[in-house]
Structures are given as C-alpha cells and as structure tokens.
Amino acid sequence: MHKKKRGFFFTLDAVMALTVIGIGFFLVLTAYLFVPPRSQTEAIAQSALQFLSTTAIENLNDPYAGIGGELWESGKISQRDNTLLQQIAHFEAKGDRETAELFVDAILDEIVPMNYGFQIKVNGNSLYPLVESSEFIASKQETDILIAREIVVYGVLNTTTFEIWGPSAVQIMVWHE
C-alpha cells in the first residue's frame, strides 16, 4: 500500500515538473512567437532600403524609370549613375515631386511585396504617396508592425557646375497591412 502511494506521488511529481518546464518554455518561446512577422517586415524594409540605395538608374530595367525609358527620353532623368534613392531625392530637390511619386510607383513592385504598405519621405515631406488618403493613414495606424529606416543622401544637381543638392534625409516606412 505504501509503495503504491509513493508511486502515485512520484508520478504526480514528474507530471508537475514537466508541466512547469512546459509552461516555462512556452512563456519564453511565445515571447518570440511573434518575431517572424516583425523580422519579416524588418527584412522587407531593409531589403527595400538596400535596393533603393544601391541600384543605379543604369541597372534598372523599367520602361518608365530606366535608361531609355519615358523619363530618360524626356530628360527628367539624366544621371545614369544616380541610385534610385538619389533620383527620388533629386526630383524633390528640383521641385518635381509629381514625377518622384510616379517614379516610385513604377518601381514599387520591386520594393515591397503585396499586402505591405510603403511610404517614402524626403526631409519630412511625403513623396510617396504625395497625398495620404484616409485609407492609407488608417492602414498605417492600424498595423501592428511598422518599420522605418532613414538614410542621408546627396548628389549632383548640375554636372557642369558641380552644383549639389542635399544632404537630404530620406525615410522609408514599411508595414504589414
């Protein structure tokens, strides 16, 4: 009879111990359970920044924004070695914010996947989108994770006179919609 009781307590003890260990690990791991979406958004933001700040116009294959494209033919883009981010801020420096928005719109598929929101600001002014709609604001406000990245860019406004624009602070924001 004593042996039977002892066995019961040992079993109970083992169950309790396993429960405690289980709860402990559950608590620790659940703290990081929501990491994947966050790290995914972070990765997308980082990748967007990387793409925009390292891809030169001459390496962009786009019928609107690339070499030989509409903007190139119309003379709105003339510096082939500008990075995409420099080109966006360059438009802002020249006061051509509408073209900046169209430029970002043309390459948006390359920047962020669907179901992700994206905004770009230069010196605090939103260039993409130029006008923030109520849906856009709501999407940004209601998201759980919004990742913002900021970078300083500058460039040459006139290659003959070496007139420069900037430095300008460019901020990109990515969030899960």
């Binding site: 003890d13 405690v20 608590l27 620790v28 300083v152 006179t161 070496f162 430095p167």
Partner: protein
C-alpha cells in the same frame, strides 16, 4: 520520505526556474548584440561615406563656386587677388576673400554643417567635420586640383569614430569660367575659358582667324603664358606645366588698333616692344589691327601675311 519529496520538488522547480531565466537572458543578449553590431556597421558606413563620397563632392562643389565667386568679386572691385591659392581656399572654406564675404550657403563649411545636422537629427550621431586646410594648385593646364585636409569625429551610442588628417582630393575643369585677366586686365569684356581643338600645327591663316573669332585657348609647350591660377594675379608669371593663351579680337577692344601683341598675356602686360610687332593682314583675314610678336608669327605660320609696323 514524504517530506523529502517536497524538497526534491522545490529543488527541481528552482533549477528549472534558473534554467528558464538563463535561457531568456541569453536570447535577449544575443538579440541586443545583434542590434549593436548593426548599429556599429551603420555608423561605420556613414563615416566612410562622408569621407569617401560626401567630402569629395562637397569639396568640388564649393571650389567651383569659390572660383566663380572670386571672378565676380574681381569684376566688381576691379582688383586682382594678392594670393590666388590662398584667397580661393579661403572663399571655398569660409566664403571670404580678405574681410569681404563673397559666397554664402555654398562653402565647404556650409555643406559639412548640413551633414552634421542631418547626422544628429536622423541618426543620433554627433558628427563633427573639421576642415583643417585647403589648397588650390595646378598640375594640368585645363583643371584645378583641390586638396582638403579634414578630420571627422563621429560619436554614436555604440562608440566613437575618429579620422584625422584626411586628404580629400578633387579637381575642377577650368572651362566655363571667366578669365580674370580679361575681366580686370583691360580688355573690358568677359571671356570664357574654352579649350581649342586645334593641335600644335601646322597652322595657317584660316585657323588663326578661327582661333581669334572663337576666343579659344591653346596650350603651347615652352610658351611664357600664365596658368589659369596665375591669371588671378595682377602680374601673372609664366607657368611651365600649365601655360595657356588666347588671342584678343581687335574689334572687341577699344581702340581696336593698338600697338600691342594681341596674344592675351602679352596684350595685358604690354610686354612686346613696338619694334618687335608684326601686323597680320590679308583680304581673307577679317581682323584689322591684329598684331603678333615674331615667335607667334612663326608659331601660327603666318609670316607671309606679317608686316612690320610703323611705331609712333
């Protein structure tokens, strides 16, 4: 035995609790060190970019504007610069020549200030770029070399970055600037530096006509002409490496027929005696009054059209 059991259970619970705490801390620590590493990489890249990309760009932009500003200053005051290398460097870094402000918002200090402000506002980096000195020189006739000695100090939340005695080198082509000798030296009109496509020769009268009309500049080996930088001085010296010269169109100066060589530096210095001048004339040569010294008559291969002049 029953009492021992509860102690064993408590010990087990304590060990598990310690295990969980240590595990959680390890994850947090590795996450923090990852963030720190990223931050270090970011500031490191920022400083490197400021050093390798921003400073050369800003240096070139401000030196270009300094040359423009110095020409405008000379045109306004009618005075040459005492020490062009020093004065241009002063205009580039501080926007001043002597006590006079000649340039605003485009000095090298302005540009570095902008970057310092943005570094603080956007990235929380206390950036300080100090321009220790700047130097203008020439090693080629058609461009000005600029060497800036600068230091960078960046203080971030994860460490300090210090770069001392950085030598930032850039160059600016002289084409497109006004020739100070023409502005202040007595020609009375603005004349822009343009490189001639004509080579050393063989020359003929038609080419000389084109050179005068276009107002282009030539590099002639062994010439006593001054360099671009020397042209900011009232008495420019000849330059071995970088001498360039142009010819003055008689119709653009008053009076058009002067007893001078119309090679620019000889005209401004009045350095050729009347007895050594030759008038160039021909039915196909539309520059009455144009004169050269003997060396240039030979150089341009126009001795067949050269006549000694009567000195008054």
């Amino acid at each position: 035995m029953g009492k021992k059991g509860i102690f064993f259970t408590l010990i087990a619970l304590t060990l598990v609790a310690i295990l969980i705490i240590v595990f959680a801390r390890t994850i947090n620590t590795s996450k923090d060190s990852g963030a720190t590493f990223t931050r270090i990489q970011f500031i490191d890249a920022f400083v490197k970019d400021a050093q390798d990309s921003f400073l050369p760009l800003a240096s070139r932009a401000s030196s270009y504007r300094a040359i423009q500003a110095a020409s405008a200053y000379m045109n306004t005051t009618g005075q040459f610069l005492q020490d062009p290398e020093h004065d241009l460097a002063s205009a580039m870094v501080n926007g001043t020549i002597g006590a006079d402000a000649v340039m605003v918002n485009s000095t090298l200090t302005n540009f570095t200030d902008y970057l310092e402000i943005l570094a603080k506002e956007s990235h929380g980096i206390d950036l300080k770029i100090t321009v220790n000195s700047a130097r203008f020189s020439q090693s080629s006739p058609w461009q000005v070399d600029i060497e800036v000695n600068a230091s960078i100090l960046a203080i971030g939340d994860v460490g300090n970055w210090s770069r001392e005695g950085l030598l930032i080198r850039s160059s600016v082509p002289i084409e497109g600037f006004y020739d100070p000798q023409y502005l202040v030296g007595g020609a009375g009109y603005g004349h822009i530096f343009q490189k001639s496509n004509f080579s050393a020769g063989p020359w003929n009268l038609s080419m000389l006509d084109s050179l005068i009309t276009q107002g282009e500049y030539l590099r002639i080996e062994g010439s006593s002409a001054p360099s671009f930088l020397e042209r900011f001085k009232s008495t420019p010296l000849s330059s071995e490496c970088c001498a360039i010269e142009s010819t003055i169109e008689p119709a653009r100066v008053s009076p058009s027929d002067q007893q001078k060589s119309y090679v620019d530096y000889q005209f401004f210095a009045d350095s050729v005696a009347c007895e050594d001048l030759y008038s160039i004339s021909s039915g196909n040569f539309p520059h009455p009054g144009f004169k050269l010294d003997f060396a240039h008559v030979v150089l341009y291969n126009v001795s067949a059209y050269a006549q000694e002049i009567t000195c008054i």
